[in-house]
Symmetry: C2
């Protein structure tokens, strides 16, 4: 029986590629997504489509009322999503999002008997989020192995970030080579109700550039 892994799946380009890589590496995949008050909640439909199409053992959507707590343009509809590149950490930063998501994934992993967790974090074309950097991932992994029964019993939890040092074009090529239909995926921070992308937010821009530089047709449907 193949080893189990938990994959954080937003339904975006990165996490979908990450799921395809975990499958290629032979893991039996358990996908987890979060309904946390994000304005782009339509991404959860993409996550479901991707999980169904690529194939997972289970796909869970965790309900978490984070929008009431976290100060971010991704959860507060009164704040505008930036439509031009900015310096530093953008207001789409959601405080401690990856610590929260990884901790919940860790809980499920320990319960399932999985010791491997995949996250599509990336520092090359990333948007300046501190909880996407390798220093954070290493510190989280260390904490996870001190926090859990399995960890202190010597069964090492491993946080895999196979996209960390790839640029977006390389991620697109990797996913395409693994057969992902990127039309299933969804990355926009402010899509409309029909699930069409804005084309101008950080996430859309980085994604569009990735397709362009990879020389692969961009299947995203834009409303603007």
């Amino acid at each position: 029986m193949s080893k189990k892994a938990v994959i954080l799946l937003s339904g975006g380009l990165d996490s979908s590629t990450c799921l395809a890589i975990a499958k290629k590496e032979g893991f039996s995949c358990y996908a987890i997504s979060f309904d946390y008050g994000q304005r782009h909640r339509v991404e959860l439909s993409a996550a479901k489509r991707v999980a169904d199409t690529l194939g997972t053992q289970e796909h869970r959507i965790v309900q978490l009322s984070l929008g009431d707590l976290a100060d971010s343009a991704l959860t507060d509809l009164r704040l505008a999503v930036p439509e031009t590149p900015s310096e530093g950490i953008p207001i789409t930063y959601v405080p401690a999002r990856n610590p929260i998501f990884l901790s919940i994934a860790l809980s499920w992993a320990e319960s399932l008997g999985a010791r491997d967790i995949f996250l599509g974090a990336n520092i090359v074309d990333y948007s300046g989020y501190p909880d996407c950097r390798p220093e954070f991932i290493a510190a989280f992994e260390k904490m996870a192995n001190l926090a859990t029964k399995a960890g202190i019993e010597g069964e090492h939890f491993h946080i895999h970030t196979p996209l960390m040092h790839l640029n977006k074009a390389d991620i697109v090529k990797e996913g395409a080579a693994l057969g992902i239909d990127y039309a299933l995926t969804f990355s926009c921070y402010q899509a409309n109700a029909a699930g069409q992308a804005c084309g101008v937010c950080d996430s859309c821009r980085i994604r569009a550039d990735g397709f362009k530089q990879a020389g692969i047709a961009d299947p995203t449907v834009y409303f603007s």
Copy 2:
């Protein structure tokens, strides 16, 4: 204006004492509780009573569908809560509970401008949970300061665990000296619907011993 702190408040003896200590230290207190699928959900009423009585700036109850994911006697009604002391980590252990709760508290803290988080973790009379040990707290704090905007900008997040090295009797004495009415608090893992305690679970036994050894009358109402 006094410094803000986020206090993890279950409504139990330890976290209530922790809130009283944070107030004594002059912090402006923001309490956070979790509705995570625990069988002893009645503790949330105690958390509310304690927050109201001791006084907090705000008290938030976060909804989190953890019960579907975590394998624990505290969230799975098919598993029995142990009624005699056991060796090692008990089945009331909820995988990665403190990493999850602290990460969510961290998100709120960063959003509020608080850099101090209080947790009533304790290793003396504790029930064998790995995520209550000082090694875990230190690793979490390190991770938190690499994960967040404020952390990487040099504003240090500090996880306070003022009860870590106290025994339960000392915690009871400290809280009593700070004026806590422990009748407001609630610790049982398997209370009945009226909020009466079982008197036999680990949490009840450690609590009752604490009152006994402190020489303070136990105000807990037991059903058995």
